[in-house]
Symmetry: C2
Subunit: 185 residues, 2 copies
């Protein structure tokens, strides 16, 4: 009989950025197993842009302090037909990514197509299909809500392909655990 090596799970924070609502989802990856940890969203009130960006930055930092993820996955946002909306969304996404990098965490980016492909197996899946598959894959009792579901889907997408992504970021393995080079915990 040999003693099994103890494997520490990799904790992934998925983020779906938006100026009004930014969804987040935290998932533990242990081998090929996924475990739901938490999800929710950061809401910003109407007002001046700098204050709203601060709410997003502080919100992401607070989530990281609470759940201490090892890696962060952020959904690439759609380019809107309205250039002003694209600019606002870009600024929100900048603030959300800054929340993660200011905690020295590695950030990977995925398009909506990659996320849907990873979760539903079909790049043009609709929101309901994504929500349904997130609920099934993480064995959730209830509906996580649309914004949190997208963030959880992004975390699942990263968990499925994280070895390759971490390789690109220069990650290393120690005692069976994928260690980012610049750990944040």
């Amino acid at each position: 009989m040999t003693s099994a090596t103890q494997i520490t799970p990799t904790r992934i924070l998925g983020l779906d950025p938006g100026l009004r609502i930014t969804g987040f989802g935290v998932v533990d990856k242990l081998g090929s197993q996924l475990r739901y940890v938490a999800s929710g969203c950061i809401r910003t009130a109407d007002g001046e842009l700098p204050g709203r960006l601060k709410t997003l930055l502080d919100g992401v930092r607070e989530i990281i302090a609470t759940y201490t993820p090892d890696q962060v996955a952020v959904e690439k946002v759609f380019v809107n037909v309205n250039p002003q909306s694209t600019l606002l969304l870009g600024q929100a996404r900048g603030a959300v990514i800054c929340g993660a990098v200011s905690c020295e965490l590695p950030v990977a980016e995925y398009t909506a197509l990659q996320v849907k492909q990873a979760v539903v197996g079909y790049g043009k899946a609709d929101k309901t299909q994504v929500q349904h598959m997130v609920q099934r894959l993480l064995a959730l009792d209830g509906d996580p809500g649309a914004d949190a579901a997208d963030a959880l889907a992004c975390a699942i997408c990263h968990a499925n392909g994280s070895a390759g992504v971490l390789g690109a970021l220069g990650g290393r393995r120690r005692a069976g655990r994928v260690m980012p080079l610049r750990g944040g915990r």
Copy 2:
């Protein structure tokens, strides 16, 4: 003979955001007088977006730690004809604003039109005219460079109209000095 009240200058950091180059300019305002303090730019190397945003975030925070401004003025960026460029510029601007708000400094925003109007007196002035007027208004010996000139122009624009802006931010006056409600020094 009456003794004059000692007035502390208000230090303004102007920022002109860009993903590749973000210009900065620091100016002291003492009554109606303006004094040049410093200027330069933050450059990001090619690479993954999260790392470049971190360079901008850390760069702005470092400038704030070095020059301890009281207020920050950021130029509103142009919406590009290319939506992808607009999105990238938006993310850079989000990171630059996060650098300021994470230091608890009040941030005012100005359009290029407002900046040119304030510095040259003409909203459609070209870059050379802006550079020339910045050099004259701050009595600079040499050319500050295009990126720093735009940032200095933004700081000058804010200095000219800062009472109104601070009023909107809920600022208060104490001993002749405009005090932001959330001071960063």
